[in-house]
Symmetry: none
């Protein structure tokens, strides 16, 4: 599992973790029942607080993306492909709604938004 964080970002670190890990699970890059790194290990690797990692894992668990076996560790939940598709959509739409509302408020027409999305999409690193 690969994650990277930018501590200076305005997005909270636990959110960055959640976003990246959930995306990998939903895209199917992490197999069902595969183990996630132990909280302390991941915290040490990323040089962040254990509490922060724990918060991200808790979020993932509450969303049904991972499960914990006390004393054994944390594992990827099994998701049907329908599940995965639904979750992806749901998560996505929630965010898009906010963003698009913002563009509308800035006075952008639908065509303009799409035009800019095309332009920016290629330049962006990921």
């Amino acid at each position: 599992m690969l994650v990277s964080i930018s501590p200076r970002s305005s997005e909270p670190i636990y959110q960055q973790l959640y976003d990246q890990i959930s995306a990998q699970i939903i895209r199917g890059e992490l197999q069902a029942d595969a183990p996630l790194p132990p909280i302390r290990t991941l915290a040490k690797e990323l040089r962040i607080s254990v509490i922060t990692v724990k918060k991200a894992y808790e979020l993932l668990e509450r969303e049904g993306l991972i499960y914990t076996v006390v004393g054994r560790g944390t594992f990827v939940e099994e998701l049907s492909s329908a599940d995965r598709s639904d979750r992806r959509t749901e998560e996505l739409v929630r965010r898009l709604r906010e963003d698009v509302a913002h563009y509308k408020r800035m006075g952008l027409a639908l065509d303009e938004i799409i035009r800019w999305v095309r332009i920016v999409f290629e330049e962006v690193e990921s």
Copy 2:
């Protein structure tokens, strides 16, 4: 000048004000040297604190979009249409870059983003 705020949004109120007013100036809807509502008046109308309005005005002033004459009031700065176009693009691209990067990280293709933007655009309030 028309502004509206949603106190429940996660976006700070002063930021909402800044966004809306700057958009109107950049779109040229507010004439150069036109007076903005006095901070106290606007605060009362929106039922928020004077200080919150002031913070928005401070941001606008620091961006060179408005100017203040103490004891007289606050006014729209004169912007060439080239200026306006530049600022609009700059502001927009900065934001789009972040958003699109996020969608990419979540594993979305360009087509998918555009498809969803179309769908969401209509249902969104403003």
Copy 3:
């Protein structure tokens, strides 16, 4: 008498008036007993409030630079050349003290200040 104001400056308008008029008197450009423009006239010319002009004239009178004859108008006070020289110095030093203190706080040595004063002096309009 020639005065010009910049309404956007952070320096109050009445102060701008005071500075310019007092400088002209102290430099001897305005003869003793020469009439100053009536308050209302000057206010109209400069498109500012009568109150503002009045405030400047009051300051000048309090400093003994002008005198008022009710019903006749306002006139330049008679100053001995010693007087003029004293006032000029006094006024100047008060201001310089603040400015120089600021440069010192910014970590500038005496030599540096002088070097920069020389450079800037020529470029400045007046």
Copy 4:
């Protein structure tokens, strides 16, 4: 980090803080990534409001001199020595231009200004 304020000065407290801290950063006295005192601590030390300190920090951040990591604290931005030199000059010249313009308007010759700067420099506290 050493700062001192004079509450009686006409210069706003937050501006005094900004001036002193920015000067230290630009002079390179504060190392990159060194932590600034927490706003609450500094406020208590100086016996001023937290908000006043925050305002100074906001200014510093907007000028790119410090950066904030929410929940962790505030830190000195990394500046190349070229950067530092540029900023110092820029800030200085902006201010000097105003001051010198004022002296010129008061009818002072270059020699006189320099003579008085020399005299005043030593007596000034800091």
